[in-house]
């Protein structure tokens, strides 16, 4: 236990407490008391998994990565045919009263696979071939998720690719090519892939007054919630925006807005600091790792966790468009919570074994 990174736990603990407080607050507003108790169960399970993976050997897991990866791809492919259609996507498996989102776990497999692949090439710069392999490894599950279709989760695969390519040392010319192709791809997606509501979201972000009653509604309500919190907030469970349900998706995408409304600037900055501390510790672990695999694994986990956190917070405070990316650890959803805990556990494992000899 002493060999784990306690500083991260110190930052995690308030986040998990907040998570429970917020889940009970929104469960009340939504008149769904079961949400809070179920999420508490996931929290406990997540903590157990975190410790379990902290005491595993990440090197062994990296060696087994291809196995997990293939299993994940098969599971995602099977989802397209077997999973029931819920809310327009085939993202969830229904197990009794619980639903599981395999894409969240597939992401861990993708992180492990990408880190394992990146670790095999110990050169200063990435060869083009390796870069292509890495891209393929990350893109395959991401595409399968996008087909479900779950754009929000599919987007969370992008940081994995960015992380391994950047850390592996992709030559700058390749970055330029990549940037151009992303632009092209984005244009193509805009024209042929994005649904009208998704386009509307992006347009709304770029021009907030475009449709105050339509797609801009969520963003506007979110900013009202955050801003009306003031310095010290309106008190737990007393936020009018969340309790009277003006705030949409308040238990998932916009949960940070609930916290900001109910605890104000003081509480929201505290929570931001907690997340920043966790992120900081993840990067510290990456820097302290003893081998390339550990560094890549911890750094990728750090990048994924931090990007997701920042994108979600930016969306809540109106600095980014509504993307459907949830806030790790805080948003309701068992699979997301467990997957985040597992990835944090992996990082802890890297930290725990940083001095270990072969």
């Amino acid at each position: 236990m002493k060999r784990l990174d306690l500083a991260m736990f110190v930052a995690l603990l308030p986040i998990l407490v907040c998570s429970h407080l917020l889940q009970s607050s929104t469960a009340r507003a939504l008149a769904q008391p079961a949400y809070a108790s179920r999420q508490l169960l996931w929290l406990v399970l997540g903590a157990v998994l975190l410790l379990l993976f902290a005491f595993s050997d990440y090197r062994l897991l990296l060696r087994l990565a291809p196995l997990f990866y293939v299993a994940a791809l098969l599971a995602l492919a099977a989802m397209l045919f077997l999973a029931p259609l819920r809310a327009g996507t085939r993202s969830w498996l229904v197990l009794g009263p619980y639903t599981v989102q395999p894409s969240e776990f597939a992401r861990i497999a993708a992180i492990l696979a990408a880190a394992a692949l990146g670790a095999r090439h110990q050169k200063e710069l990435l060869a083009g071939r390796t870069a292509l392999q890495l891209t393929a490894v990350v893109a395959a599950p991401a595409l399968l998720v996008a087909l479900q279709p779950d754009l929000g989760v599919a987007l969370t695969f992008v940081p994995i690719l960015l992380a391994v390519l950047w850390l592996g040392g992709l030559p700058w010319r390749t970055w330029v090519v990549l940037a151009l192709s992303v632009l092209l791809l984005a244009a193509a997606a805009w024209l042929w892939y994005l649904k009208p509501y998704q386009r509307e979201r992006i347009l709304t972000f770029l021009e907030p007054d475009r449709a105050p009653a339509g797609a801009g509604y969520q963003q506007r309500q979110s900013r009202i919630a955050v801003g009306s919190g003031g310095l010290t907030g309106r008190g737990l469970r007393s936020g009018t925006q969340s309790q009277l349900r003006f705030l949409p998706a308040q238990d998932t995408d916009f949960i940070f807005a609930v916290w900001a409304e109910e605890t104000g600037f003081v509480g929201s900055v505290f929570l931001v600091l907690c997340y920043a501390t966790v992120a900081l510790r993840l990067f510290a672990i990456a820097l302290a790792a003893r081998d390339r695999g550990g560094t890549l694994l911890a750094a990728t986990v750090a990048v994924v966790f931090t990007t997701q956190t920042l994108v979600n917070m930016a969306m809540v405070v109106g600095l980014a468009p509504t993307t459907g990316i949830t806030l790790p650890l805080l948003s309701r959803g068992g699979s997301s919570l467990l997957a985040t805990c597992i990835s944090l556990g992996l990082a802890q494992s890297v930290w725990r074994l940083r001095f270990a000899n072969l």
Partner: protein
């Protein structure tokens, strides 16, 4: 096994770059939080309050209106309104479709109401009132889909007295943008008086609307009430009108077209004010249904017109006592002076016929009124000239508005040479003066003006201002006519009923003594040898009668005008008689020859005009 230490420095260097970027990003988030939550907090807080607080208008119940005996003319009944909160409307098109399906109105009208509501986006507008239970249930069931709609209990104007008082009470209508701008107490979509008493006494009856501040959730449900500012109900109003007489008048005029006006000659208090055909005042108690409005406007009989003060008629022989008083007062005639009537008199080389072909023989002024001798008044007009005739008419209030509280009153027409040149483009022809002498030609009065003129004849010569509310009248203005003159004229009018040859002698058997004057005003030139019953309805003469009682000290003057009524004594006089009898406590059954007069649009199967003589009114005490 040789352990080759991997060179991790480049990877770590790149990791630090990531770290730096993210630290910066966290700082940006924190700064944004500071700007939203500390710098702009009051702004966002007010938006949050707007989100959760709704101001519901509480309509003020309009004041109770009663007649002079305390009978209810107008009150309120509970009704449910549909309010629209334009700011919360996300897809106007969907809302419009929903409202149309509810059956509130046709789509175009719904669209117009929604558009009107959107003009005042910060306040809710009344989209419909008088919701049915089914409509309320439908709105409640779709509350989550249409949060901009709210059903709101309110009151609706009720007029228990019905069509009999429709023109009197007037209409309510939605407040106009100009009124809204002028008076901050008014709300968009609020109902205000548009005509009649509702308009004239809007200040009294209107009250001040209140507010209900409620907390609502995102689905528009009321969670709690935060503040209530109760409405101030309108003040009650008592009218001078006697509902019983009004109803009697409506009964007597059923199926006819015209007007009945009854005023107290002593102070001008209006007892009866009826215009027929009428309409259901409930149509105007709330927000108007355009289809029904359009059908009323298109009706050729103009049911919306208040004929008592807006319709102009040549007074016919009812002008005779007015000119008689003038002639006596100005010395054009003396009571003893008589004229010999042969049935025709030639003036300016043109034969002017008396209505009685054989002539009346020697006719004094009193008898001239009694038998309504045209020859007497042709001569009188010839001797007086237009200027004096006009002055006598004006002295008794003709040619100018009476000043009643109701809007839209017509001034009528008292001709002059100057008027003729201005309006008709040719000078006054001397021959026209002779026609004016018997109330024909370019002289036009409203039934109300006639009532005021007669009131002055019988109250000692004072011009009263007719009014509907006891305090509404102005002090009577003296006309300066000698009481002896008026006494002569009144004797003539008494002989109209009581005299052996009186034109309304059929009313002599009434249980109450009355006096008055008949009048028949020509619509078309009289055809020789054609009885009026044989003419098509729209070519028949207007029948007029002005009566008052008791003859000695009159307390009620009643004017009845029946458009195309044909004959004054058998059609208009019985109506007046019936009302006067009722006013003095007698119920009389008078069968007016209604079937002959019934307008085709009121009689699905018109009875062919009978060729027989005019039925005499049967008067049974």
């Amino acid at each position: 096994m040789i352990f080759l230490r991997d060179d991790l420095r480049p990877v770590r260097r790149r990791t630090v770059v990531f770290l730096a970027c993210f630290v910066l990003a966290f700082a940006v988030i924190a700064f944004r939080l500071f700007s939203l939550q500390v710098v702009q907090a009051p702004y966002w807080r007010s938006l949050a309050e707007n989100n959760r607080l709704r101001r519901l208008p509480l309509e003020a119940p309009r004041g109770l209106v009663t007649d002079c005996n305390g009978q209810v003319v107008m009150d309120n009944r509970p009704a449910f309104q549909l309010l629209l909160f334009p700011e919360e409307m996300k897809e106007p098109e969907r809302t419009i479709q929903f409202l149309t399906r509810l059956g509130l109105a046709e789509e175009g009208e719904v669209r117009a109401r929604v558009a009107r509501a959107q003009r005042t986006s910060h306040l809710p507008s009344v989209i419909a009132d008088n919701l049915s239970w089914a409509q309320m249930a439908a709105v409640a069931a779709h509350r989550a889909d249409f949060q901009e709609l709210a059903v709101h209990p309110a009151t609706r104007r009720a007029v228990p007295a019905g069509p009999a008082v429709a023109h009197l009470v007037g209409q309510l209508g939605e407040v106009s943008p100009a009124q809204l701008a002028a008076d901050s107490r008014l709300r968009p979509g609020q109902l205000v008086g548009k005509s009649g008493i509702e308009l004239s006494y809007q200040e009294v009856l209107g009250g001040v609307p209140g507010n209900l501040v409620v907390v609502v959730d995102a689905l528009g449900r009321q969670v709690s009430t935060l503040d209530e500012e109760p409405p101030k109900p309108g003040h009650p109003l008592t009218l001078t009108v006697d509902l019983e007489l009004q109803r009697e008048a409506a009964k007597a005029m059923a199926g006819l077209v015209g007007s009945v006006v009854g005023i107290d000659p002593r102070d001008g208090a209006v007892r009866v004010l009826l215009s027929e055909p009428s309409f259901d005042p409930d149509l105007f108690a709330g927000h108007l249904e355009p289809a029904r409005w359009a059908s009323l406007v298109a009706d050729p009989l103009k049911p919306l017109q208040n004929r008592a003060l807006q319709a102009l008629y040549p007074p016919g022989s009812t002008i005779k006592p007015i000119f008689a008083a003038g002639a006596l007062a100005d010395g054009v005639r003396t009571p003893a002076q008589s004229v010999y009537c042969t049935g025709t008199s030639t003036i300016y080389g043109h034969p002017y016929r008396c209505w009685l072909a054989g002539g009346h023989g020697h006719v004094s002024l009193e008898r001239g009124i009694e038998v309504s001798c045209d020859t007497f008044f042709y001569r009188l007009a010839f001797d007086a000239g237009l200027t004096r005739l006009a002055a006598w008419a004006r002295r008794l209030g003709l040619g100018e508005k009476t000043g009643i509280e109701l809007a839209g009153e017509m001034a009528g027409l008292v001709p002059s040479d100057e008027w003729s040149r201005r309006s008709r483009g040719h000078p006054w022809y001397a021959g026209e003066t002779i026609s004016v002498g018997i109330g024909q030609g370019p002289i036009l009065v409203t039934p109300l003006q006639l009532a005021v003129a007669y009131a002055a004849l019988v109250n000692g010569g004072f011009l009263v201002t007719p009014h509907l509310v006891p305090e509404g009248g102005k002090p009577p203005r003296p006309t300066g006519i000698d009481p002896a003159v008026l006494a002569t004229v009144r004797r003539g009018m008494e002989r109209v009923v009581a005299g052996e040859q009186g034109t309304a002698r059929r009313l002599a058997s009434l249980p109450v003594a009355i006096a008055g004057k008949t009048g028949t005003s020509q619509v078309m030139r009289k055809k020789e040898g054609v009885k009026w019953q044989e003419l098509p309805w729209e070519q028949r003469h207007h029948a007029l009668f002005v009566g008052y009682a008791p003859p000695a000290e009159p307390t009620l003057v009643v004017v009845a005008v029946v458009e195309h009524g044909g004959d004054a004594s058998s059609v208009a006089a019985p109506i007046v008689a019936r009302i006067l009898a009722k006013a003095f406590g007698h119920d009389v059954e008078i069968s007016t020859p209604q079937l002959l007069l019934a307008n085709p649009s009121y009689q699905p199967e018109p009875t062919p005009p009978s060729g027989g003589p005019a039925q005499l009114a049967e008067v049974r005490p």
